[in-house]
Symmetry: C2
Subunit: 310 residues, 2 copies
């Protein structure tokens, strides 16, 4: 059966039945959802967009991985503020001739993410379109005044990253080459947001962001907004096995965290943290310096630009 | 200049500069926004999607009306719960060869809506795509336990609608015929959400929803979720001048409110309310009955279905 045979009303009923949540004041099916944020907390609010042929290709990305990832990338954003993710809405546009099976698999991935991250789907919108378009907006909570911004890095801070780098881009390359499984492909299709680490370090860390556009781009964001320079060492970068230098330095969709702090332990919540460098005063520009043996050069942001990319 | 010449980073800077808001703990440009909800309030959370060629056509819908409307329809949803709209994020996908002028005009419409409705843009996401997609997610506040649902209609309630009906669909028809202005076109391009009425009646009303899919469809939602029948009278419907019977009964994108209550005044916040019928017990099915002179018939929902519509 295809989407246009089911119809929009039946599709929404199907989603509501699957994501029924009796703990909410108002969930799916009214004009808006009604949810509560505990006293003493601010709201963390973000959205992330996945577009067919740009973020995924229907032929090589299974529908459940798209549903999972659309939620996971928002969990990562909330975690990168030191927040706890809570509720989300999904806006989904898709061609009327799309098989209902694609949808059911997509929402299986969404459900998997709900269970894994402790978040709940509470609403959204649907439309037809030529291409598939998935936009998730999420709200979470953070103790008032406790959010960790990109702009807080201090001279003398050590720079840490969680996990390994380069795996997601390597995984995409392998998928395009026809491979079906392996650790790098898993990292690309089912990224592990580090929100629990983000919450755990929120009191000790001065600046934090997640790596969605690539280390070079996202660390440059910290340098620019904090008004500092970040010096990192090539031989300290925790490369995913098999990843190229470019994949490690510039690969996007990692969803690892970059954290600056005086000192952090080597492992938090079971996730390895690697100290890759330090924050130093800016001589002129706020930028990232890469030390390779005895040479030091500026690491320009070479991450993803959706409008310029081919 | 085109979008791909500007690039994603510069586009985000441009939006940030335009929507800078020093009153927020964290606004545009970090992983997520941080905002506050006053104590004693629940969060109202919703999203609404506009897709090129489905919700609008680039040639006949000016970019500022698309930006304005994307915000206004969410304001309407929050208001239809009895809530006060506060903050929103915009996810925008567009072709790389789109002129920057389109963007600037789009964000002028967004800004107009911010000023008019007292809401603030706090973040979002961007991507390239073949077609333009705009998804706005909004949060608002409602006193805890004070949200007005679709499911609360009671036997004996009167059924009210705000404003007039049929104008938006008539306006679209006129736009397609090459007309450029007039009241109906204005209703289509710059709908007036009735959120202030929604808040004002929230304590007296038992059920409320906004008319986004058409009176027949949205009133059926109230009947079904409340387990009642709604009887309305054709000669009481407040038709927009020039609108056909089908446009009044089934036309979508009105963003007027349907409210059920024991009794409401004829005008609230300067907006006319019309009593169009009453809630009666359901004999068998929960449905809408339309009285036309001495005959009464079932008014089937004939509103918009995005997947079935041509």
């Amino acid at each position: 059966m295809r989407l246009r045979d089911l119809g929009e009303g039946n599709l929404i009923d199907r989603i509501r039945d699957r994501f029924q949540n009796s703990k909410l004041p108002v969930g799916i099916g009214d004009d808006a959802a009604i949810v509560d944020v505990p006293p003493g907390h601010s709201l963390v609010f973000c959205s992330d967009l996945l577009v067919e042929s740009k973020h995924f290709v229907r032929e090589i990305h299974p529908a459940d991985s798209i549903g999972y990832k659309a939620v996971a990338v928002n969990v990562s954003d909330v975690g990168a503020m030191g927040g706890v993710p809570m509720y989300f809405v999904v806006s989904l546009a898709a061609p009327g001739d799309l098989e209902i099976a694609w949808f059911d698999l997509f929402y299986s991935g969404v459900k998997e993410a709900c269970d894994k991250f402790g978040v709940a789907l509470v609403g959204g919108d649907t439309s037809s379109a030529r291409d598939i378009f998935v936009d998730v907006s999420m709200v979470g909570r953070v103790p008032q005044g406790g959010a960790v911004l990109r702009s807080g890095a201090r001279v003398g801070d050590k720079i840490y990253v969680t996990g390994t780098l380069g795996g997601s881009t390597l995984g995409l390359e392998l998928l395009r080459a026809g491979k079906k499984d392996g650790r790098a492909i898993e990292r690309h299709l089912h990224p592990e947001p580090r929100h629990r680490v983000g919450v755990a370090v929120s009191k000790q860390s001065h600046a934090m962001t997640d790596i969605s556009d690539g280390l070079s781009t996202d660390l440059t964001h910290i340098a620019l907004s904090s008004g500092v320079t970040a010096r990192i060492y090539k031989d300290r970068l925790p490369a995913e096995m098999g990843a190229s230098e470019a994949q490690v330095l510039h690969g996007g969709e990692e969803y690892e965290l970059i954290i600056t702090a005086t000192e952090l332990p080597a492992s938090i919540e079971g996730v390895t943290l690697t100290c890759i460098g330090e924050i130093i005063p800016s001589a002129k520009d706020h930028q990232v310096l890469l030390v390779d043996g005895s040479t030091e050069s500026v690491l320009r942001p070479r991450g993803w630009d959706h409008f310029k990319a081919k």
